[in-house]
């Protein structure tokens, strides 16, 4: 018998393990393995090899899961705390904005009265009004951005290479 049938048999056997075979190839391979002791031995050895590969024993530290669970729970608590503080900050920001909008007419009248008393030009009064109204919102925005920057910094310091798995 030439070498080619044996090469083909070994190739097909590997393919059967990795990708699977068509029924025609499977039939040919089975027939060849019945006739050829050397190829049958090779196939048996490969099966034994994979069986041994599956049986590589693993000695996992008994407390590894518990340590990991504790660490994950602590991290989950950090997330929960950050989410709570973030929610409080957003509520305060929204309340601040609402008070600013509702009080705008009163504040505008106050600035108008002040301008009349001090004889200030209208652009300065308008600028002062805008600042009075916007500064609290800008401070709140800065706080939110600072908080986000801090949390992103923590994540980046731990490495950030996990890609979205789709």
């Amino acid at each position: 018998m030439s070498e080619k049938p044996h090469e083909r048999a070994q190739q097909l056997f590997s393919q059967s393990l990795i990708e699977g075979l068509s029924s025609a190839d499977q039939t040919w391979l089975e027939a060849h393995l019945r006739e050829c002791a050397a190829c049958a031995q090779h196939a048996a050895a490969t099966r034994e090899l994979l069986r041994a590969l599956r049986n590589v024993p693993l000695f996992i530290p008994s407390d590894l899961a518990a340590r990991t669970q504790l660490r994950v729970r602590l991290r989950a608590q950090e997330f929960a705390a950050a989410a709570n503080s973030g929610a409080v900050l957003w509520i305060i920001t929204a309340a601040s904005w609402l008070v600013g909008v509702l009080s705008a007419p009163l504040v505008w009248r106050g600035f108008a009265w002040l301008g009349t008393q001090l004889s200030l030009p209208k652009p300065i009064l308008e600028l002062g009004f805008v600042l009075w109204w916007a500064v609290p919102a800008l401070v709140a925005l800065a706080a939110v951005l600072h908080q986000r920057g801090a949390s992103n910094g923590i994540r980046n310091s731990r490495g950030d290479h996990v890609r979205r798995f789709e």
């Binding site: 590997s14 393990l17 990795i18 990708e19 050895a45 490969t46 099966r47 034994e48 090899l49 994979l50 069986r51 041994a52 590969l53 599956r54 049986n55 590589v56 024993p57 693993l58 000695f59 996992i60 530290p61 590894l64 899961a65 340590r67 990991t68 669970q69 660490r71 994950v72 729970r73 991290r75 989950a76 997330f79 929960a80 994540r155 731990r158 490495g159 290479h161 996990v162 890609r163 979205r164 798995f165 789709e166």
Partner: protein, 208 residues
């Protein structure tokens, strides 16, 4: 093919074994991960600890590093739970996270076995490591008739060990392996054929 009883079979709970999960199970899993449900994560850690730890050991060959990466992987699962696609197997996503962490570490540290993951298609012949080098894989050897195979694993590159583990131990499909490795299907097949051949050739005469 019948699988012999091993330490792994005992750890695969039918309740949450992702390979047997239905779409509803995966949806519930995805929802729990989005909520960062600590109870769910506890169960997942219990269930997948052996498979993940084995994968990391196969990749790194370093017990201490594997333990660190094991913990870090689960922290990533917590942090990135909202990215889990319920259409894919959980373990595929888990292994992909672990693999990316291993690659991160290999970039920061110069670790031989991890560097092998960097450019596996370079076609450069690899030098089998000195058999006197003790490693965790060697320490794992307990059965005489499997010792040769386990020692041979040390001699083949990590990127072959990885695909052999995922295909023949984890029994992932080729497409799932390609997703874990973020490589084309043809590359996965190529590595499997070469890895199988490399493992056979690394065996001492008469073994397995």
């Amino acid at each position: 093919m019948n699988r012999p009883a091993s330490i792994f079979t005992a750890t695969r709970s039918p309740l949450l074994f992702a390979g047997l999960m239905t779409t509803d199970d995966n949806s519930a899993l995805a929802a729990g991960l989005r909520r960062r449900d600590p109870e769910l994560l506890d169960r997942l850690i219990d269930q997948f600890q052996h498979r993940l730890y084995r994968y990391l050991i196969f990749l790194t060959g370093d017990r201490a590093l594997a333990e660190d990466l094991f913990q870090e992987t689960w922290v990533r699962v917590l942090e990135r739970g909202h990215q889990y696609n319920r259409k894919s197997k959980f373990e595929s996503w888990l292994f992909a996270i672990a693999r990316n962490l291993v690659i991160d570490v290999s970039r920061r540290k110069k670790i031989r076995s991890l560097e092998e993951l960097g450019n596996p298609e370079s076609d450069q012949p690899y030098e089998p490591p000195d058999e006197r080098c003790a490693s965790v894989l060697q320490m794992m050897v307990t059965r005489e008739n499997e010792q040769a195979v386990q020692l041979s694993l040390l001699k083949i590159p990590a990127y072959y060990r990885e695909v052999l583990l995922l295909r023949f131990h984890e029994e992932l499909g080729l497409e799932e392996i390609a997703a874990v490795l973020a490589t084309p299907l043809s590359t996965v097949k190529s590595r499997l054929y070469r890895g199988l051949a490399a493992l056979k050739s690394a065996l001492p005469q008469g073994a397995a």
